[in-house]
Symmetry: C2
Subunit: 340 residues, 2 copies
């Protein structure tokens, strides 16, 4: 195990360059206060000596760091990976590093991560959704650190938020289904309370079907696990119990599982049953049948959120709550029904 001698610090560079440490500090950071000539000299010496600034020391004195904390429910399923991708690209080119957490939808896990993260005095914190442990909100509200809540929206964010209207998404699906003549809707999701956004979409769906169709939306909530399998199993259970004419899913992955289930049972889609997904994932692009879904602009959401946050970090005024538009995509898994 190699144990190196103490790495070169700013003082070593200063001594070798024949200037004070402050000049080196200024030269490295690119701030005013050194002539172009000495700056060039210093940078050359620093490179030669392989000088590497100590972020902890810097962070300690400026009470701030170039770390940005990002909390996501999960990496599974591309959705949050897409959002993350958009954010990371933006933060990275602005010189920030990402400290990442996955909560698996557990508010307590989120809270303990936030606590740990706060000890680093991060430049900003990003949480997924608007439902958090009360103490998380309290902690973050009390801190001067900019906070972004992403993927959902509210009029009362901790600080700022960028997301979509999940209730409205459910409504859009409902309106489409009703207009095509579907009357016996069902929804395949995860256990109630697990994913609040999915629950909101179901509510939106119900708000349309309640009055218009006079029918409630049957909901299947398979236990957690792989989305494809969950979609498959949830569909099987629904088909056994109720007799839906259209099934909506928490996301495209589950919808695909459902499609496979219908196919395995010899049901014709959309002849016998309609299928609606959510998110507009790439998976759907190669299917023999275009999936009816709602396209969410996840990368754009990530980029937008990151930009707003950077503005906030730099003290530029930013909109508190941003709602991105939803794109409904009518596919070949839903079509006009010959009623009754």
């Amino acid at each position: 195990m190699p144990r190196r001698a103490t790495p070169t610090k700013i003082e070593d560079v200063a001594r070798r360059a024949g200037v004070s440490v402050m000049s080196v500090s200024r030269a490295i950071r690119g701030v005013e206060g050194v002539s172009e000539k000495t700056r060039a000299d210093i940078l050359k010496v620093a490179r030669q000596m392989k000088y590497m600034p100590n972020s902890a020391a810097r962070s300690l004195v400026v009470s701030n760091s170039n770390l940005i904390g990002i909390s996501l429910p999960t990496f599974a399923g591309e959705v949050f990976a897409d959002i993350l991708n958009g954010m990371r690209q933006t933060f990275d080119s602005a010189g920030y590093s990402s400290v990442i957490d996955t909560t698996e939808y557990d508010p307590d896990a989120e809270l303990s991560w936030v606590r740990r993260l706060l000890s680093w005095q991060p430049a900003a914190i990003i949480l997924t959704g608007i439902d958090h442990h009360p103490e998380t909100r309290e902690l973050l509200r009390a801190s001067p650190i900019p906070v972004l809540e992403i993927w959902d929206h509210t009029d009362d964010p901790i600080d700022i938020c960028v997301g979509i209207d999940h209730f409205r998404a459910g409504q859009m699906i409902g309106e489409h289904a009703v207009s095509l003549g579907y009357r016996r809707p069902a929804f395949v999701s995860t256990p109630l309370g697990h994913d609040k956004r999915a629950d909101a979409r179901l509510e939106g769906l119900r708000s349309v079907f309640g009055p218009a169709g006079g029918a409630d939306v049957a909901a299947s909530r398979p236990s957690l696990g792989n989305a494809f399998v969950t979609g498959f199993d949830g569909t099987a259970k629904l088909l056994d119990a109720d007799c839906p004419d259209i099934i909506c899913y928490l996301n495209d992955h589950m919808a695909f599982g459902g499609l496979m289930c219908c196919q395995a049972r010899g049901l014709s889609v959309p002849g016998d049953i309609g299928i609606v997904g959510f998110n507009g994932l790439d998976l759907a692009t190669v299917l023999p049948m275009k999936l009816t879904t709602i396209r969410t602009q996840r990368r754009l959401m990530g980029i937008t959120g990151a930009r707003h946050l950077l503005a906030r970090i730099n003290g530029v005024p930013t909109p508190e709550s941003t709602v991105l538009p939803l794109q409904f995509e009518a596919g070949q898994t839903t079509c006009d029904q010959i009623d009754l």
Copy 2:
């Protein structure tokens, strides 16, 4: 914009608890040197005052941090998400935070991230694969920080590595194909040099077909993009140009795209053509036809890597190079061929 008063520091807690700062430090960290009674008192006061230790200050004085850097090529495609998941779980419960990077397979991007990360004196660094910018290797070799290279393996890692034998994986696929009587293999991948592991698998495949079948492996290398679409397009191109009887893919996603392509063209699988994926992704579980693939234990790999690294951090001897076994899964997308 709220701007809080200075947050409580260790000295405030000490004053209020009527002890010295060192006692508070010891009590908080759970090290010896305080009686159980005073420790309890101190912890109570600290909680009341919502004391939050400053990680930068701690990091500065101990020349170390509880940050672990993890560099992945991409979040797309579940593979690295699975590995990451296994690692994060292990690190998280050991009290470490993860600083994450995605290189998009660019060694320069990896290098500049490593540079930034080193300024935080991380507890460990994890890189994907064994091919890095020479300066990255130099930098990390010179540092006392434990380094894990994951997903691939070599006898000469920067520090330690945990992965699979990609060449062998290609061989296994080749042996299976040859034994079933396939003679005109093809491979759909990404541009040469982009993903070194995929290239190694192709080499393994070739090493079998070269002597045994007398046939070289035709390789289609569509440009980058979504894996499903890439698999679809690459297959289309192959079917137009060559006349393969079995197509192997970089991963299950692409294999699925290929399957859809064959289906769209009215080709029977495995009657007309065999399909082989890689990774054993969950996607395959709901397909009407079990995909022939090689299952990689990605979560296990993440956990194993993380454990070895934690051991290394704590000075416990660790194997330099660990190779995990591959599980070949014969599915329904390959079968005996009536030759010629």
